[in-house]
């Protein structure tokens, strides 16, 4: 029953998205929703490892950037179409997640976080020195002229991101509700006990890390076409890492829809403040929102709502 409701919801969203592209010509909506959807994908991906197992990825920007640069390199070398680039970027980032996980997931949680940070910084240095994709000087990526069934290329990018976001959410949902998911939450609650109970902790953590990597890379693949000029500064932006942690935290890390809610809210707030309040206050808002949520709603919005409902049930 629940399964059907989810897929029905997915179908409705896809159709709605398509109708959205057909009924509005105002590119602004698609630019902003692209950025918000990018946040959704990265937040959902991050939560596959961070929320479900408790292993904090401190280097989300690194995985995202691997996707970006894979896309740039393959586009430059072979001129592959965008969907192929998405898949390729996803796979490369997934392998990165697997490798990084294999090396470090055996350590205590905090070491994993430091390792991801180090990996991201190393990758940034590599990207700065890799001349083929422009190195530190950056490279230009021209948008293709055709946009198939859409009115313009931005709408195509929006639709693509919507599909990736749905895929990521579906995978996340599967991970959390299946037997796999139970194993993951066992790891989050008490890894030692889980091990003793026979949960294959390393294998599960690696699966999470790999899927996380895949979707972060996939999110990066359309980025060069969105932004036209790619350089390490924009691909490895600190804001990507911050958002990847903040969005799930605001929404709630324990459930698959938490990061979606958090990303939609925080992403929308950031986009709105960019074009209204503007200036430094923008950064201040991000910081304050984050701190407020963390201190007042540590289990995220979802947790807040659950607690409220539980209290009402208890009272009523």
């Amino acid at each position: 029953m629940k399964l059907d409701r989810f897929w029905l919801g997915v179908a409705i969203i896809i159709v709605a998205g398509f109708v959205f592209t057909k009924s509005f010509d105002n590119e602004f909506y698609f630019f902003t929703t692209y950025v918000v959807l990018q946040g959704v994908i990265i937040a959902v991906a991050w939560n596959m490892l961070g929320g479900f197992t408790g292993y904090v990825n401190f280097g989300s920007a690194g995985f995202f950037a691997v996707g970006v640069y894979t896309s740039v390199a393959l586009h430059k070398a072979f001129g592959l179409p965008l969907p192929v680039l998405v898949l390729a970027s996803g796979i490369i980032s997934a392998l990165l997640g697997l490798a990084a996980g294999y090396l470090t997931l055996r350590l205590k949680g905090i070491y994993f976080a430091i390792a991801t940070l180090a990996v991201a910084l190393m990758l940034e240095t590599v990207a700065s020195n890799w001349e083929y994709v422009g190195g530190a000087a950056g490279t230009y990526v021209l948008q293709p002229k055709e946009s198939s069934i859409f009115d313009n290329y931005t709408e195509l990018l929006f639709m693509l991101m919507l599909l990736i976001a749905i895929a990521a959410t579906a995978v996340s949902r599967y991970l959390s509700s299946s037997r796999l998911g139970q194993g993951l939450s066992a790891i989050r609650d008490d890894e030692l006990a889980a091990e003793c109970a026979g949960v294959p902790t390393l294998k599960l953590k690696l699966i999470s890390a790999t899927t996380m990597g895949f979707f972060m890379g996939a999110a990066g693949a359309p980025f060069p076409f969105f932004i036209a000029f790619v350089d390490p500064l924009s691909a490895f932006a600190l804001l990507i890492t911050v958002n990847s942690i903040a969005m799930p935290m605001i929404g709630g890390t324990a459930v698959w829809y938490g990061p979606v809610i958090g990303a939609l809210i925080l992403g929308a707030v950031q986009e709105v403040t960019t074009v209204t309040i503007s200036s430094e206050i923008n950064l201040l808002v991000v910081g304050v929102v984050l701190v407020l949520f963390i201190t007042l709603a540590p289990k995220g919005l979802v947790g807040l709502v659950h607690d409220y409902m539980a209290k009402r049930r208890a009272d009523g």
Binding site: I227, F229, S234
Partner: protein, 416 residues
């Protein structure tokens, strides 16, 4: 009695009718002319971005006092892009599709100009741009105009003056060391220098990059010193420039010419701090208070800027970017006035065909939107006194060596 009343009523009615008829027309005349852009007001480039904004607002006030553009008062609609390229497409999209601005200009820096290109190209808009290196090389857009006076081949013209000066000396240099901070502009500038070196047959004895924001560059400077180069051409950002100048000084580096593409040595606060360590360095600049650059309007502009900049935490003198931020709007304004409408195609054609008089002198554009002739100055610091900020606001401390059209002195060679 009643006829009077009737008469009065009728008059009132007619006046009201006429007023209603005129009002929309009158209102349309007063409707402001909106110019939209994004600017780096936070993040690494914010220092320059904020200074540019101050200059742009001065232009707006100047024009509005004279009656506005096309009889309409100018209004700015701008947003902070936080030196983050991903914010730019959304911002320009909002400016054009939601705020419905009449004209757009660019943000500051290649990273912030490029993402807007596809959007303005799609809409066929004239795009006056503020300091981006060779942005139009790939896009090849015929309505793009760059106010940075790099020259028609920007990546090479940037360093052309430096090498021209070197090779004109009797004691000809034979070797060169190249160093670039690992970021967009510096890399491109040094790439141009490399091409010049090869073209002129100079031996490249050192050719490396260093990470952006490195705290200590002494080891780099030591390696350069060990290579014993005649010329040292560096592309760096403010943090790196300061460290390199200090390191060169501490290690008593000797060379025939030193400098080239170091950003930061144009900023008042840094100049004051480095003081006499700057003497002898030949570096790029765009405007200095030398008598040969006293173009019409620049002195008034700078004094307005310096008043407006007080207490805002930006460069107090405003020699580097602000005059150009004023000029790029001057050109847009002059073109719109000359064409008499907002027809983007006509404006673009006009700009391509005209030499403009601006606060940074005469400006003429090549077909690719860059300056037809390079005006990237090579200046040499001389007689700089320690701990003195005001000296940089006067002539005599930064001597213009190149190009010849605005030369104000001859080079002191070798540097050390």
């Amino acid at each position: 009695m009643s006829r009077n009343k009737n008469f009065r009523l009728w008059t009132l009615g007619i006046v009201a009718l006429v007023a209603f008829a005129i009002a929309p027309a009158a209102q349309a005349q007063k409707k402001p002319l909106k110019i939209g852009f994004s600017m780096a007001l936070t993040g690494p480039l914010a220092g320059a971005g904020k200074a540019a904004l101050i200059a742009m607002k001065i232009w707006k006030d100047d024009i509005n006092k004279k009656g506005g553009l096309l009889g309409r008062q100018i209004e700015f609609i701008y947003y902070d892009d936080a030196t983050s390229a991903s914010k730019v497409p959304g911002i320009y999209s909002k400016l054009l599709n939601v705020d419905k601005v009449d004209l757009v200009v660019s943000s500051y820096g290649t990273n912030e100009i490029s993402p807007a290109m596809p959007i303005v190209m799609r809409k066929g808009l004239v795009f006056m741009s503020l300091f981006g290196l060779a942005v139009n090389e790939k896009f090849k857009y015929d309505r793009y105009f760059q106010i940075m006076p790099a020259g028609p081949v920007p990546k090479d013209d940037w360093s052309r003056g430096f090498f021209n000066l070197a090779m004109a000396q009797k004691d000809k240099p034979e070797s060169v060391a190249l160093l670039a901070e690992d970021a967009e502009f510096a890399r491109n500038a040094v790439a141009g220098a490399r091409r010049h070196a090869k073209r002129l047959g100079l031996k490249i004895v050192y050719d490396k990059t260093f990470p952006f924001g490195s705290p200590d560059v002494t080891s780099v400077m030591r390696a350069i010193k060990a290579a014993k180069p005649d010329l040292v051409y560096i592309g760096s950002y403010p943090g790196g420039s300061v460290g390199l100048v200090k390191a060169a000084n501490e290690l008593s580096l000797k060379a025939k010419m030193f400098g080239g593409g170091m950003v930061g040595l144009q900023f008042a606060g840094i100049q004051k701090n480095l003081g006499p360590m700057l003497n002898g360095i030949v570096n790029y600049d765009f405007w200095v208070p030398e008598p040969t650059l006293n173009f019409e309007g620049v002195k008034e502009f700078l004094s307005k800027y310096q008043t407006a900049a007080k207490g805002k935490g930006v460069d107090p003198f405003g020699h580097y970017l602000p005059p150009f931020a004023y000029a790029y709007l001057q050109i847009l304004g002059d073109a719109v006035t000359a064409v008499g409408s907002l027809d983007q195609k006509k404006i673009a054609t006009y700009i391509h065909a005209t030499t403009f008089k601006t606060v940074v002198g005469p400006v003429r554009f090549a077909a690719n939107g860059e300056w037809a002739e390079t005006r990237t100055l090579q200046v040499q610091f001389r007689d700089v006194q320690p701990n003195n900020l005001a000296q940089f606001n006067k002539p005599g401390k930064r001597i213009v060596l190149y190009p010849d059209s605005v030369k104000s002195g001859t080079i002191v060679y070798p540097y050390k």
